[in-house]
């Protein structure tokens, strides 16, 4: 029984991280129709910037903020100069974001080296509770809390504010939004950079969880986030939240009971979802 509590917490923490990556990916896909392959590289940039700032200042919060700011700036740069040139051309979007991903992942190796950088957890989150044999790691609880806060925050932003209204309208009918005189391109940039900042935050939170950061972590987590998006339904915020939790829990369960089958289980889940419900578990009927 104890093991299930531990596994559930592990899974939820993993799910929270995945959610940070997948929500941005999903909204970008829904709003702009862009499959953003730079998300993995933004993730590792977040992690490395966090390690760098944490090493300089010793401040956990500053590290996270720094990671988000850098990722946000990269997001603006990617969208303004590259992605915006190829809107409406899906293959070109995939290719251009892949190219950027390759360049910036390699830049990480040039700047910080190809070997993994190790990083500890901040002291106030380093401990663990031991409740009658069940070990609960503080940092994982913290991740779950952050995930919840961000999920509620995005939910409020999307549903209670004017910005959110425009973004939601843009997902449904971009032409109509444009026809109403709203400069949707600004929102494209904002959403892209916002998603980038979340990916950076995910990377920054991931590094202390695993204890190290490598340049190959980007692609791996990006694949997971893609699976979440496909399973949850493209462009659906609820879907990316549900999909992340599902994948996180499944991942921790599989890692305990059948290690080695982790990737196969994820892809198997995706194949099953695609086979029986191609629009995803929580898929909205997005009209384009």
């Amino acid at each position: 029984m104890d093991i299930f509590v531990t596994l559930a917490i592990n899974g939820l923490a993993q799910g929270a991280l995945l959610f940070l990556l997948a929500s941005g990916l999903s909204i970008i896909l829904g709003l702009m129709g862009v499959v953003n392959f730079t998300h993995g590289t933004l993730f590792i940039w977040g992690g490395y910037v966090y390690i760098w700032i944490f090493g300089l200042t010793g401040s956990f919060v500053l590290g996270l903020l720094g990671a988000m700011v850098v990722a946000f700036a990269m997001g603006v740069f990617f969208e303004k100069f590259f992605v915006s040139r190829v809107y409406g051309n899906v293959p070109a979007q995939i290719l251009i974001t892949l190219g950027l991903q390759v360049i910036f992942t390699e830049l990480v190796r040039v700047i910080w080296g190809a070997t993994p950088l190790s990083i500890g957890r901040p002291t106030f989150l380093a401990g663990a509770w031991d409740i009658s044999g069940v070990v609960i790691v503080h940092y994982r609880i913290f991740l779950i809390a952050i995930g919840l806060v961000i999920a509620v925050g995005i939910h409020l932003l999307l549903n209670k504010t004017k910005i959110g209204m425009i973004v939601r309208a843009g997902v449904q009918r971009p032409d109509m939004v444009r026809a109403l005189g709203i400069n949707i391109n600004t929102y494209f940039t904002l959403v892209f950079a916002g998603g980038a900042a979340l990916a950076g935050l995910a990377g920054a939170l991931y590094a202390p969880l695993v204890g190290s950061m490598t340049s190959t972590a980007g692609m791996h987590n990006q694949v997971l986030a893609f699976i979440v998006v496909v399973v949850g339904g493209m462009g659906s915020f609820i879907g990316s939240a549900g999909g992340s939790v599902l994948l996180g829990l499944m991942g921790s369960g599989v890692a305990w009971f059948a290690p080695g089958l982790a990737t196969i289980a994820n892809v198997g889940l995706m194949a099953i979802v695609l086979a029986f419900k191609p629009s995803g578990l929580f898929g909205l009927a997005v009209k384009k």
């Binding site: 995939i94 290719l95 251009i96 190219g99 694949v223 496909v230 493209m234 695609l274």
Partner: protein, 341 residues
């Protein structure tokens, strides 16, 4: 898109001269140039197999390396465990053929489920194939007893292939044969149906074609060709590792088809030549500045530049020039007849 069944006389002469030059090449050049060209030939087939998917089916497959890498692994495992003989090589070819067509069938069954074409299916296809490729890579990494995991598998090859100059000729013959086969496939009725699916899947369906079946055939042909080039690549390097199964390896093929021009088949050959020569030249510059060792930086930059400034690649450039010239001649002729009347 662009299909020229009948090759003009000029083109025949050009190809003849090119072939003669390539036949003579190993006798006048250094061994490293010969090796570079062998690599270009083999990668060209890999890139062409990708062009069938990307250029003729409009399908972005991000797991294409799984065919290539598996081909290399199959030949490596056979040579290592049973014996490095020529019959084993033939067996490797047969196993690759079977393996690739089954893998392509499974991949296609999963990916081509979402019907209707359009942007959504391209996106879902790209993501799903990416994940499938990762599965194969993970399996190869975990299955240490046979694949040696991340360390890679080095093996001995039959006497017949060990001479670099002879291998160059094998690669050249292999390239010519595969080009003819793939060209035949593209020009066949099946190839035509594939192109119609790319242009408008719904319309092709209404015309009575079972589009999923045709797409499966296309993916199988591409997978088999890719697997074969993987076998040759393994034999050339006498070494396989999981790098051949990574997304990066798929991106190699994508870049080569992009540079050469998608949907042209021959563009992939030009792209392979360009990319491989640039890569080896950049490595020569590393004594100037260590940044030139970072091939991936240039690789990514090339990607972005090609997509933004040269979306149709070298072949697209060539066709636009010849088309302009043809239009000019036509205009001229029209003017002359107009003047006469």
């Amino acid at each position: 898109m662009i299909l020229k069944k009948d090759i003009s006389k000029k083109m025949m002469i050009f190809l003849g001269v090119l072939l003669a030059a390539l036949v003579v090449l190993p006798h006048v050049s250094t061994l490293s140039t010969t090796a570079l060209f062998s690599r270009i030939f083999i990668m060209a087939i890999y890139a062409m197999s990708y062009d069938i998917l990307r250029g003729y089916m409009g399908f972005i497959n991000l797991g294409h390396a799984l065919f290539f890498g598996s081909g290399a692994y199959i030949v490596g495992i056979l040579f290592n465990n049973i014996g490095n003989t020529v019959p084993m090589f033939i067996l490797a070819i047969v196993i690759t053929l079977v393996y690739s067509s089954i893998a392509a069938f499974i991949m296609g069954k999963i990916v081509f489920r979402s019907k209707g074409g359009g942007a959504a299916s391209v996106v879902a296809g790209a993501m799903t194939t990416l994940a499938l490729g990762e599965i194969v890579r993970h399996t190869a990494e975990r299955w240490r007893d046979v694949t040696m995991g991340a360390d890679g598998l080095s093996f001995r090859i039959p006497q017949m292939f060990s001479d670099r100059t002879m291998f160059y000729y094998y690669a050249l013959v292999f390239l010519i044969v595969m080009t003819l086969i793939l060209r035949q496939f593209i020009n066949s009725p099946t190839g035509r149906v594939l192109m119609s699916i790319r242009e408008n899947e719904q319309r092709a369906e209404f015309l009575g074609f079972d589009t999923e079946k045709y797409k499966l055939i296309g993916l199988q042909v591409a997978g088999i060709a890719s697997g074969f080039s993987g076998v040759m690549f393994g034999v050339m390097n006498r070494f396989v590792n999981t790098e051949l199964l990574t997304v990066q390896q798929t991106l190699n093929a994508l870049l080569m088809t992009l540079v050469g021009g998608t949907g042209t088949l021959y563009g992939a050959i030009i792209g392979s030549g360009f990319v491989n020569i640039v890569q080896s030249q950049l490595l020569n510059f590393r004594s100037v500045h260590p940044i030139f060792e970072r091939w991936l930086l240039f690789f990514g930059a090339m990607y972005v530049i090609v997509v933004i400034f040269m979306p149709k690649g070298f072949m697209g450039l060539y066709y636009s020039i010849t088309d302009k010239r043809r239009a000019k001649i036509k205009n001229h002729a029209v003017k002359q007849t107009a003047g006469k009347s």
